[in-house]
Symmetry: C2
Subunit: 139 residues, 2 copies
């Protein structure tokens, strides 16, 4: 049985306000790496008093506390991800979609004295679907 957004906030000692639960719940049910704007637009109908500032405040708080990750693979907007296990992001330069992949643990002797709080691996290139499309265009 999956942990709820409320429980996850409690686990990090963050007061589960309506707005915080809504933002985190959206991320925990949409593993689409949304932007702050996307999250705001999705929640606004259900919470018409919601402010975009609150969405930004909440995302920053959750990121600082390590509840979620801020992804900077897209230079235009920050994206957010509620997955808790280290994983790899692949961003297709053709369609823009961001794919998740499990990541083998990277143990590096050279980093042993560094206190690592966050690991992010970004790959960029073309996904198989877009490769096929490109081939069709060129034939």
């Amino acid at each position: 049985m999956k942990e709820s957004a409320q429980d996850r906030l409690r686990r990090y000692n963050i007061k589960p306000s309506v707005q915080r639960m809504a933002v985190l719940d959206y991320l925990m049910t949409h593993y689409t790496h949304p932007t702050a704007d996307t999250i705001f637009n999705a929640l606004y109908p259900a919470i018409p008093t919601l402010s975009k500032a609150t969405v930004y405040n909440t995302l920053n708080l959750l990121t600082e506390q390590g509840v979620i990750q801020m992804i900077t693979i897209d230079e235009k907007n920050a994206r957010f991800d509620a997955r808790e296990t280290p994983h790899l992001h692949f961003r297709c330069s053709a369609c823009g979609e961001i794919f998740d992949f499990d990541l083998p643990p990277l143990q590096m002797e050279a980093l042993k004295d560094y206190d690592i709080t966050d690991i992010q691996v970004y790959c960029k290139g073309v996904c198989p679907t877009c490769q096929k499309k490109e081939n069709n265009i060129n034939n």
Copy 2:
């Protein structure tokens, strides 16, 4: 003997204008992950007619052509890196410095059908020097 900025531009079939050589040469002699602004300020005295727009144009061109890498580990500004071998970036949350580490090749069966053009690995945390400082403050 090291390759010059001019030769590297030629290798990528990019016309080696004075401005492009200056930007790339700066990156090839300063592995400090500078921002566009830092590069502009460093080059401006020697090239007083240089425009910041040219620095941005050049950095974008070099990034698109794969001559350099754009690093987004710092959410505020893009940073740039002329290293050609895949490597890992560690950003200290205390002092802000970005350290380079060699990266073991990451071969992942799950990605075999993806056409990967760029791999970036970001680690965040506290470097040994800042860890010591933090301990001293707490004692």
